[in-house]
Each structure stands twice: as structure tokens, then as C-alpha cells.
């Protein structure tokens, strides 16, 4: 597969995913619980299936956040290697 085809296909696929996600955002409703803590303590295990509620939050409710957290680490590593090495050593 040529690089040009990838350069066309990847932004196209990202655009489709973005539109799909924008359609799926739920409408705002009146909250049933006093706080987010009550909601997660009562419903957390039934909704996610994780006994560790921290894990339930960062891998299910706020997975979006974790993905960018992993991305930040990737960019950090790239920055450190970029500053420490000359261009010829690293792709």
C-alpha cells in the first residue's frame, strides 16, 4: 500500500469516525443522583463489571480520557528522543 493512499484514507476514516461520534452524544437529562460518587457507588459494578471502581472509571466511563493520556505519553517519549538524539540515529 503506497504512502499516498494511506495519507488519503486515514483522514477520511477519522472524519467518518468523528461524525459518527458526534451523532452518538446523548441528550442532557435531569440527574437521578445527588453526586457522581453516588451514581458510581450504586451503579458502577452493574454497568461496567469491574470490581475496582477506579478501573471502571478510567476504562469505561472515561475511556476517552485514558486514550489521550496514552497519547500524551507517546508524544512525551517522542519529544525526549527528539531532543536527545540527532536526526540520523532515529527514524
Amino acid at each position: 500500500m503506497s504512502k499516498r493512499l494511506v495519507a488519503i484514507l486515514v483522514p477520511f476514516g477519522l472524519a467518518i469516525l468523528f461524525v459518527r461520534f458526534a451523532q452518538l452524544i446523548p441528550e442532557l437529562t435531569t440527574p437521578q443522583f445527588e453526586s457522581a460518587k453516588d451514581y458510581i457507588m450504586i451503579r458502577g459494578y452493574a454497568e461496567t463489571g469491574a470490581k475496582n471502581l477506579v478501573s471502571a472509571i478510567y476504562l469505561d466511563y472515561r475511556l476517552f480520557d485514558s486514550l489521550f493520556e496514552a497519547g500524551i505519553l507517546l508524544i512525551t517519549v517522542a519529544g525526549i528522543v527528539f531532543m536527545a538524539k540527532s536526526d540520523e540515529d532515529v527514524i
Partner: protein, 135 residues
């Protein structure tokens, strides 16, 4: 670097336990405190111990970074898979009708992927600093 026989011996004894503890933290991420990020950091500490044992040892930095990128793409795809299976973005790709033991597959998969990515990233940082120190 000056090698000490005490550091080498203790590092050789500690190495398997460090890796065992790291994998324990990762695989029990959804049951007990811990998870992918923490377990990955412990695994990269294990790499630092191998440097104490043999300071001539080198890993290829390009290969580390390429694999880290691949694991990051795999994490993104695993997170986005729920759009296809359930119609909701960024959640478990198994629907809530399954029992909790089956839905644990998602947590295990994501924890293992995140931990491998974090371990490779921190290993790349440590390796960069080591090569800098050697001049």
C-alpha cells in the same frame, strides 16, 4: 561504569520478582488497585535492573518506538470497537447482557495493551538517557 558484585547479584535475584509483580498488577487491574499504567512502569523498572546486571546490553530504539506506536493504535481501535458492536463510543464492546466475568475480557485486553505501551515508552526514555550517559 564500575560494576559492583553486590548490585549485580541482588539485581539477578530481584529481576523475576519485579516482572512477576508487574504482571500481577496488570492482570488484577480491574479487581484491585493498580492497572495498565502502573504495571507498565514496574515492567520498565525491570528493564532498568537488566542494565544493572549487564551495562553493555543495548536495545534498538527505533524498534521500541515503532512498537509503541503500533500498541497505541491498537488501544485506539479497542476503544473505538464499541461503536460497531454497541453503538456507543468509547465503552466496553461487550453489551451489559453478558455476565461480569465475560465482560472482564475488555478490561484485561485494554490493561495489557496499555501496560505494554507504557512499558515500551518508559523503556525508550531510560534507554535514551543511558545512551546519552555513555556519550
Amino acid at each position: 561504569m564500575k560494576q559492583s558484585i553486590l548490585v549485580v547479584t541482588i539485581s539477578r535475584i530481584m529481576l523475576p520478582f519485579v516482572f512477576l509483580y508487574g504482571f500481577y498488577i496488570i492482570l488484577h487491574g480491574d479487581l484491585s488497585p493498580g492497572g495498565g499504567f502502573q504495571g507498565g512502569a514496574i515492567l520498565s523498572t525491570g528493564f532498568l535492573l537488566t542494565y544493572f546486571i549487564d551495562d553493555e546490553r543495548r536495545v534498538d530504539l527505533n524498534r521500541l518506538l515503532r512498537r509503541e506506536k503500533l500498541f497505541f493504535l491498537a488501544i485506539l481501535l479497542t476503544g473505538a470497537l464499541s461503536v460497531i458492536t454497541r453503538g456507543e463510543p468509547f465503552t466496553n464492546f461487550l453489551s451489559p447482557e453478558f455476565p461480569a466475568e465475560t465482560r472482564r475480557i475488555f478490561f484485561l485486553l485494554l490493561n495489557v495493551l496499555i501496560s505494554l505501551k507504557v512499558a515500551l515508552g518508559l523503556t525508550a526514555i531510560v534507554e535514551t538517557f543511558l545512551e546519552e550517559g555513555q556519550g
